[in-house]
């Protein structure tokens, strides 16, 4: 599979009065062409910082001591601001979380959608507006022709997010980054926006990085999933591998703390995430981890291979580690997975052939 984006050994610090916050601590991942990669994690885990660094949108007090972000044989961390401007909004574009604040309230929406065309493609104004209208139609704004002169406040939250998506895709970007695009929306609207993103991905053949903390949304949209905790990726794999056969105790905890139809008592991961001013020496999750071993406090676990596509950074996967019993919920998921795999092997319809 062709890698369209390759992030290697990325480290990002933020300088504050209290000291340097180590927000991203040695993160590597890649994005394949045409796929959707979901990055999951709690607030402060570094998922938004990671994608902002790809867009070249880091705050002024940041510094990147180490790392590479390779896109089309160039390192996005090394290129000039001017070169980055050519890529941003053109080859790589972004959908932000809050559709209320990511649109300009004083500019008609047609003009906002046409803006990337005027800047990147030097299209004539009339042509750009025509194209804006097409794209607004594509993202499902009814009667787009008569609405391109309307202002953002004249649209509902869900429609505004559709407009934000229209701006992001108007140049057919190769990579679309969506930072919690549905968090501010109601479930029914959320489900429409996600359907729209899936449709658009097929139509314009883009690759998507989808950031969220909602595991339900991830299960529906992702091909692959990376789980972040305290500035590091701690586990990554295909969506089935992460949801049905997770290996890192933090991933177990996350899946276990979601209520299921059967749950009597909710599992809560104890404690809170560490302060990244002074990140812990070993596995950052160790103090909250009931499976933690002595070594977790001593040394950072490397990635251990589970399958060719599935890796997890936990000492539990070391050959010398004692065998532990995952929580009941994880075992239940395991069973489900084996059932699905068996059904598929029997020659039934493959699960993803709709």
């Amino acid at each position: 599979m062709e890698k369209i984006l390759d992030v290697k050994d990325l480290e990002i610090n933020f300088h504050t009065f209290a000291g340097d916050v180590k927000a991203i601590r040695d993160v590597s991942f890649h994005l394949n062409k045409g796929e959707t990669l979901a990055i999951v994690g709690e607030s402060g885990s570094g998922k938004s910082v990671t994608v902002r660094s790809i867009m070249g949108l880091l705050a002024n007090n940041s510094n990147v001591p180490n790392g590479q972000i390779m896109f089309k044989d160039q390192d996005l961390l090394k290129i000039s601001a001017r070169q980055m401007e050519k890529i941003r909004g053109n080859d790589i574009s972004m959908i932000f979380q809050d559709p209320m604040t990511s649109l300009d309230p004083t500019m008609p929406i047609g003009k906002q959608v046409a803006e990337p065309l005027l800047i990147h493609n030097h299209m004539s104004r009339a042509k750009a507006m025509e194209r804006a209208e097409e794209v607004l139609e594509l993202v499902g704004i009814p009667n787009a022709k008569n609405r391109i002169k309307d202002y953002p406040h004249q649209f509902s939250g869900g429609q505004r997010q559709r407009i934000v998506i229209a701006i992001a895709i108007v140049n057919y970007p190769e990579i679309l980054i969506a930072d919690e695009p549905t968090t501010a929306l109601d479930v029914t609207i959320q489900s429409q926006i996600i359907e729209l993103m899936k449709e658009l991905q097929d139509k314009i053949e883009t690759s998507i990085i989808f950031i969220t903390h909602d595991l339900g949304v991830v299960a529906g949209i992702a091909d692959r999933v990376a789980v972040m905790y305290a500035g590091k990726i701690i586990e990554y794999g295909s969506v089935d591998e992460i949801f049905y056969d997770p290996r890192h105790p933090y991933t177990w905890g996350l899946l276990n703390s979601m209520p299921t139809l059967e749950s009597k008592k909710l599992y809560a991961i104890p404690g809170t995430p560490p302060n990244l001013l002074n990140p812990p020496k070993g596995d950052a999750f160790a103090p909250r981890n009931e499976y933690a071993m002595a070594i977790d406090y001593e040394a950072m676990p490397p990635f251990f291979k589970v399958t060719d596509t599935h890796y997890a950074a936990t000492w539990l996967l070391h050959p010398d580690a004692p065998k532990v019993q995952p929580p009941a919920e994880i075992l239940r998921r395991h069973e489900l997975y084996h059932k699905y795999l068996a059904e598929q092997a029997k020659g039934g319809v493959p699960a993803d052939a709709e």
């Binding site: 709690e42 109601d186 479930v187 489900s191 595991l215 299960a219 949801f243 809560a268 699905y340």
Partner: protein, 331 residues
């Protein structure tokens, strides 16, 4: 909820509540349009709906942050919908009913120390005699919500979202209320912290025999925490029943649509999930609709001639194993 044959005590009775904003003017909004429901002592009553459905307004009207346009709200059998502001009755009633707010960042005064935030209710109601007693009570409350006394003299900005929500809970509990309205108390929190706060709310409920009105849009969490659930849409109740009934045997098309839109952390389920779009035209005004009991304990917003249809639906559904509407074949 067990029911030992005795009729359960109703702690809150909402009767034909109406809350209009800009009433009588051109821009009138019927935020709540004639709703009725009861909340029993000791239960958790979940109120779900999309933004703009009127669920938060309902909570705010019950605790009298608004003056209802019409209808009655009985608390302990006493009508509180017409109590005057700043009256002794209002003070007394507010001691028994408290609220936990959604946004833990906006609901704590950034310039007050934690102990003063928590003790504000104690001061207003003169529940403590001196500073030593006040501090002791605050300590007790902090301990109850899983914080410690070192936190007393700190300010809100020194706490994380989850901790702030715990402070908000301690503040609500300070005056020993019997009924708490929790308006989206966990939606601003991370997944792992949500579970902590929900467990805390449940533990306190058992411990102090509290009754909750739990307002939320996260349906899976509402299902988990609630004994009964009401589904709200456009200022009206669409469906009301026990949480198991609403989830396993939803009857009203709006509930079915809402449930089918909830994504679950299960990729295989997600591949087959088909959202059912909702057509609001079935709520047309041509018929007189109100919340009617279809089968015992399960009510739906329907007109008289629609009742047999829903009844048949309910009976059919109960013959089969419970199914989530999202995996049914689409139409």
């Amino acid at each position: 909820m067990q029911n030992n044959g005795e009729p359960r005590k109703k702690i809150v009775e909402v009767k034909h509540l109406k809350q209009y904003f800009n009433a009588g003017r051109k821009n009138e909004v019927k935020a709540i349009d004639d709703i009725s429901f009861d909340i029993y002592e000791g239960e958790t009553f979940g109120l779900v709906g999309e933004s703009g459905s009127g669920k938060s307004t309902t909570g705010r009207s019950i605790i009298r942050l608004y003056d209802p346009t019409g209808g009655e709200i009985l608390f302990n059998g006493q009508d509180i919908s017409k109590i005057k502001k700043h009256s002794p009755q209002m003070l007394e009633f507010r001691r028994e009913m408290q609220m936990i707010f959604q946004d833990p960042y906006a609901s704590l005064n950034p310039r007050m120390k934690i102990k003063d935030i928590i003790a504000e209710g104690l001061d207003v109601h003169h529940l403590v005699k001196n500073d030593a007693e006040r501090d002791a009570r605050v300590e007790e409350l902090l301990d109850l919500v899983g914080l410690n006394k070192d936190h007393m003299t700190r300010y809100p900005h020194e706490f994380s979202g989850g901790q702030r929500q715990r402070i908000g809970i301690a503040r609500a509990l300070a005056v020993k209320p019997r009924f708490i309205i929790a308006d989206e108390p966990i939606s601003a929190l991370d997944v792992s912290i949500q579970a902590q706060v929900v467990n805390l709310l449940e533990d306190i409920q058992k411990d102090q025999n509290l009754t909750y009105l739990f307002i939320a849009h996260d349906l899976s969490m509402v299902k988990y925490i609630s004994d009964r659930i009401a589904v709200m849409h456009n200022g009206r109740l669409m469906e009301l029943s026990t949480s198991d009934e609403v989830y396993n045997y939803p009857l009203h098309p709006y509930t079915i649509s809402l449930l089918s839109a909830v994504p679950l952390p299960d990729p295989e389920y997600e591949r087959h999930r088909k959202p059912h779009p909702y057509d609001a035209s079935i709520e047309d005004e041509s018929k007189d609709r109100y919340l009617q009991e279809i089968i015992p304990g399960h009510s739906v917003f329907a007109s008289d001639d629609e009742v047999p249809m829903y009844r048949e639906m309910a009976e059919k559904a109960h013959e089969k194993q419970p199914v989530n509407p999202a995996v049914l074949p689409g139409d």
